[in-house]
Symmetry: C2
């Protein structure tokens, strides 16, 4: 069985800048491209591109208001991404455990 996951969701969450953006949006209760870029080492335009990626992945939604565009995290979708992360981790954990058991069994059979 392979680790089947939504590649668009994973890659959206895979970029370190986008992870920091999600952090900032979560702790700050939303933000605009400008406010986010002030808290990050990249330009507003780069942030805007990342927001586009997050938007297409459904991880954020936008609310235009005057000349600003407020972005907020979509909790359900982020929860789905978290579930995928832990699923991959759990799969590898299980495989590592299985390999370790086999190795131990071999060692026991050689010792005994």
């Amino acid at each position: 069985m392979s680790v089947a996951i939504d590649d668009e969701l994973w890659s959206a969450v895979g970029d370190p800048t986008r992870r920091r953006m999600l952090d900032l949006l979560l702790t700050g209760g939303g933000g605009t491209a400008t406010t986010l870029s002030q808290q990050l080492p990249v330009t507003r335009q780069a942030v805007a591109k990342h927001l586009g990626v997050l938007d297409r992945a459904g991880l954020v939604h936008v609310t235009p208001s005057g000349r600003e565009r407020l972005y907020e995290v979509d909790e359900a979708q982020l929860a789905r991404a978290v579930a995928q992360l832990s699923a991959v981790g759990a799969t590898w954990d299980a495989r590592l455990l299985r390999i370790r058991r086999i190795a131990e069994a071999i060692q026991r059979s050689q010792e005994g």
Copy 2:
């Protein structure tokens, strides 16, 4: 507190092809660039590049033997990567939970 993780390790594990390669190496007990490429939709050269990335991240180690180069997963390092995945997941889980609690508190205060 931000989600401080080893970016090289995360990005090594972030690529879908590399994740499949790790799966194949785990279940097959190691492999070469050629054997891996036969089980993947990419060329041997692409696989070789990915193996280089995984090697630099310490996730695999190589054993030359004749004209072959056998790659195997470094279990300790993969376990470290798994720990980082679940750490990010746990952080987001906690923040989502906190936000949900605040939202519920606001709703209760408005209802009451």
